[in-house]
Each structure stands twice: as C-alpha cells, then as structure tokens.
Symmetry: C2
Subunit: 329 residues, 2 copies
DNA sequence: CTGAAAGCGCTAACAG
DNA sequence: CTGTTAGCGCTTTCAG
C-alpha cells in the first residue's frame, strides 16, 4: 500500500505540481508531449489522485448517492436493486464516479448526508417520506426520482413509466386473443395501479368489450390467493393484473380450483419479475425497464452538472414480455 | 445549502476548534457539560463534519466498498443484492459508515480504488478474477469474501455456508418423507454444488438408501428443463437440487410429463429464491442466509479495524424453508 | 505553457 | 481539560 502523491509525480516527471494537476483535470493548455509524459508516468507507477483531497479542494467528490425504499415490500420483491445498481454503476464508471448507498432512509437526514459527503447528485427510488421533502429543497445538487409518482416537487427530475399505456396495451393484447370478459386486478393503496386501471378502461372501450370488472386487494401473494378464489367462480377469461406478485397468488388459486391457464384464462402481470420465467406456466408481464431508468438517471445528473440542465419529467417506454400464458400454451 | 465548519461551531460555542474536534471524536477528556453544549449546538444548527476533510486529515473515510460479481448470472437471479445491501447498510449505519459500490468489477483496479477512496474495508461477493488476487495482497485493510469458495488467500476473511450440511439435511428430510429413490441434481461448473453432493451422499448412506443418482447440467432453467424430461421417465421420487433455478425448469418438465408434485416426486432446492413462494406448487428450499452474512461481514471488518482481529473462515448456518412440495400438498 | 503559494475543513500533536 | 498550529493531498489563483 504505497502512498504516492501528486508531488511525487511532479518530482519524478520534472514538472510542477500545478502542471500535473492541470494535466489530470484537462485544465489550462499543456503540450501533448507534457500530457503524454505525465499520464505515462501516472500509469506506470499506478498513481491515482486521492479523492478526499480532491473533494476538499474542489468540492468534486465524484460521488452520487442512492436511496432505496427499504421498507417497501413491493420493491424488495422485484429484483429492483440489481437491475438499477448494475445500470447506474456501469454508467457512472464512464466518468469514474462511484455510487454510495444511503444508510437506512428512515433516519437519514438527506441534506446533512449530501453535505457531509459532498455528494454531486442523488437518485431516489420510489416514494419518499413527506417529512423529507423539505430537506430536498435546500439541497442544490441534481436530484432524480425514479418511480415516484407524486411528481409535484419543484426543482427535481422524475423518471417514470407510462403506466396508463401499460394497462392499455396489456388489456388490448388480451382482447386480441379472444378474451371477452377481461378483469383488472390491483390494489387501492398503490398509485400506479390506478393508472394502469385507467389504461385498462380505455382498452375495453377501444375493443368494444362489456363492462369493467375490478378486483382490489392487498398487493401481496396472499391478496392474490383470495382474489383467485373469487375469480375462479366467474366467467372471466382474461386478467390484467397490476402486480406479478398478486398474479402468482391468483394463478395458484385458479389452478387449485381446476381452471386451466391459459386455456380458460389468459393473464398478463406487471413488473416482469424473475419469477415470471419460473412458474408453470410462465407468466407474461409488463416490463418496467429498470435498467434504462438507471442509465437515464445518471445521464440527467451529468447533464445538470454540466449546466445543460432543464428539469424533466421523463417517461421510459415499457414493453410487454409475452410468455406461455399468452401464446396459448 | 449552508456550509458550516468546525470553526463556526468553535466560535459559536466559545470553545476552541480542537476541543470541538475532541468532543466530536470522543478523544481526550472533556467535561460532560462541554460535551452537551457542543453536541447541542451541532444538533441545533445542523452541523455535520465534512467527510473529505476528515478523511484527508485522519485517513478515516467511514467508507466500506463492496464488489458484486455482475457477470455472474446465478447471483443476478438470486435477489442477492437487496438482502446483502440492506443488511450491510443497516449494520454500517450504526457507526455511521457508508457503503460504496465498485464500478464494474471487470475493469476495476481494486487496489487503486481502495487507495483513492481511502476505503476502510472491502466486501467481495462471489468469485474474483484470479488476476485480481494479487492486488488484494497489497491492500492492508480488512477484506471479507462472502460466498467465495476458493478460500485459499492469505490475510482475508471468508464467510460461507456449510453446503455439505445443507445437502445432507435436504436429503435426510426427503428420506424421512418416504422417498426411496432420491437423486441429486447440480452442475459440474459450480464448486458449491459438489459440496452439496457430498452431503447428499452421506445422507443416503445414513438412511441406508440405495445407489446414488447424479444428474448434471448447465445451472440454468434450460438445464432443468432437459433434466426434467429425463427424470420423468425414471422411478425417482425425491430430488435434492443444488439450484432453485434448475429446480424450476425440472418442475416444469415434470408437470408437463404428467408427474404430480409432491405426490410422485418431492423436491428441495437451494437458494430459497423469492420465486419459491410463487410457483405452484411452492418450492421448499435451503436458505443461504444472505442477510446474516452481510451483518457478519460488517462486524468482522469493524473488529479488525478495532485491532481485535483474527482472520476467520466463518460458516453461517443455513436453514431449510419447507413449503408445499415437502408437506405433501 | 509553467511554478509558487494559499487554502479546502479537519485531526493530532504539543503546550498550557 | 483547553488552545495553537502544522499538515493531510489536492486545486486554484496569480505571476512569470
């Protein structure tokens, strides 16, 4: 564990400290020769500028913070983390930024955290306690919300899916596959579910299909089990379910009640969780493109950092992954 | 975005900078009164010491790095991230440390990363490129490997599961549930699978059950599908499968070939992925206790940092989660 | 294009 | 118990 400093590089290369610094940061103009010499030496001896010193002197920490809704079960069950984290870190690495994870979002004072770590940007997944919103206003670094549907805060960026279109498309696919009695399943508690329901409604009208059928329950596997029991006693032949987890519960109840899937009932869920591939039959589902959201979040932050910022409310296309349940087995 | 410094606190409290610093860091002895006054003021004005300055002066960055095997599919499918990250960050928050995620493990020079960020510890999940091992030797901060089974490196800590016991216990449960022809499924490529196989072998002997039956394939859903076809033509009535993902493929094939689960075949998988709860029937599985591993990793690092370190190779108990497939439905 | 010198905010001796 | 002061390693004026 050597500890080379910029002075060592200056001495060994024969240039002054400030020249080395300029070369490293691409400031001031140095001859290409000088640059090559200095970069060459740095590479050779394995020198990397110390982040703390750099941050202290320039306030550039090369650090982006991320906050997860650890108390939110839906997020926890969705393999959100790896998709988001992998895409964010790989995008950040292009400019050699690192990602710091906020300790326990409940107790964390976001403003103080941003200040003490000199964060250059913050990405927040899901909903945020209303009590923290006022903190956000005092923070003057780029902030991006992903999948937060309250988008009423001034001065921050939002990245979401167009859930209404998702509901519409899913329902339309069911209709095109000869479903005549399509029901919608969701939860009262969840904002996005109501948007998906809106899409469902439009699609019914568009397809001239009869009255709406709405089933509401807790957004859990258990909730799904309960609804599955009820639904198995109806003539419903198509289901647009706002959450895969609920869908799995419903499927379980339907199968136990002798329904055949997809012969009797065709189903499309939301979230495209990994489990969709592993159930029998496999489940078609609307993918919310977490990876893309992560990449876009980073790009937004960098753009705002570079001054070409205009705050945005961006919608990321979703796509429906069709599996057995759709194809008709 | 105010920018209070330690000087402001010193001035406002009437004490000197060093006294304030001492109070913050619990160094030297200050009267309780002084402490209360200073902490009270800090709280009141919302002052938090700047990390960069602190790190520069003391080398204490309060930062732990983590490296994920982003190229490893098995890890990606296992909801590893949230369990590990949640447990690690919550444990770190007790001492107000933060977690930094390493950019793309492939290109990352771990030593340089540790040096430039003044990391105080590193947690590495899964296998590491052999090419990076030599880097590790030059790093003199605590390093903990989780679920790396090469444990042959000197000077680092390892946290693993006792997979042999896992294989033994799973097989024993099947035997006690009247399975007479129990087969083991795994993949040649994966180190831990062979340990689980060892446990399976012992359990067969222990239960005086006939000859071993070993099925090897790619550790994927596809691999499972292939094996399921083969297995459905045999008299096997119990399966110990070293990977849930393979199990899901096998189950799919078995069901399609008219086998009833668990009536005809009882199955126990490994990893206890979320999907186990969502399949019909639900799948029993050996849980590898990722959360516990995360907590223990942090504790090991802190202990080593505090000098009470002795390098360890610690095994975390695993537990089998029994679901429908075991109960007999 | 290059060099000298003043800090960034904090810690860590070392006096008092 | 408390105050002064010299850096930590880097960036950034500002002269040359």
């Amino acid at each position: 564990m050597e500890k080379l400093t910029i002075k060592d590089i200056a001495k060994q290369s024969g240039f002054s400290v400030s020249t080395v610094s300029n070369v490293i940061n691409g400031k001031g103009k140095c001859s290409l020769k000088t640059q090559k010499k200095i970069f060459g030496l740095m590479e050779k001896v394995g020198y990397k500028p110390n982040c703390a010193a750099r941050t202290l002197a320039s306030k550039k920490s090369n650090l982006i913070g991320i906050l997860f809704p650890i108390e939110n079960e839906i997020f926890q069950k969705n393999n959100y983390y790896q998709k988001i984290i992998n895409s964010i870190t790989s995008e950040l690495s292009k400019k050699s930024y690192d990602l710091v994870i906020g300790n326990n979002i409940k107790e964390l004072n976001i403003l103080e955290w941003a200040l003490k770590r000199d964060l250059e940007g913050i990405i927040i997944i899901g909903d945020l306690d209303a009590s923290k919103e006022k903190d956000l206003k005092k923070i003057n670094i780029p902030i991006v919300f992903i999948d937060n549907y309250k988008n009423n805060l001034y001065g921050v960026n939002y990245i979401n899916s167009d859930d209404t279109i998702g509901g519409f498309n899913a329902t339309e696919i069911l209709a095109k596959n000869n479903c005549k009695n399509i029901a919608f399943v969701g939860s009262d508690d969840i904002e996005v579910h109501s948007r998906r329901y809106l899409g469902y409604q439009s699609a019914l009208i568009e397809s001239s299909l009869g009255e709406e059928r709405l089933y509401l329950e807790q957004p859990s596997y258990q909730g799904g089990l309960i609804l599955g029991e009820m639904i198995s006693k109806t003539d419903i032949d198509g289901l647009c379910i706002a959450s895969d987890i609920m869908a799995f519960g419903i499927i379980s109840s339907l199968l136990k009640n002798g329904k055949k899937i997809p012969e009797n009932i065709k189903i499309i869920g939301f979230d495209n969780t990994d489990s969709c591939e592993y159930t029998t039959p496999t489940l078609s589902s609307v993918d919310l493109n977490f990876s893309t959201k992560g990449i876009v979040a980073v790009q937004m932050i960098f753009e705002e950092l570079e001054g070409k910022n205009f705050l945005r409310n961006q919608s990321i296309d979703l796509n429906i992954v069709l599996r057995e349940i759709y194809t008709g087995g």
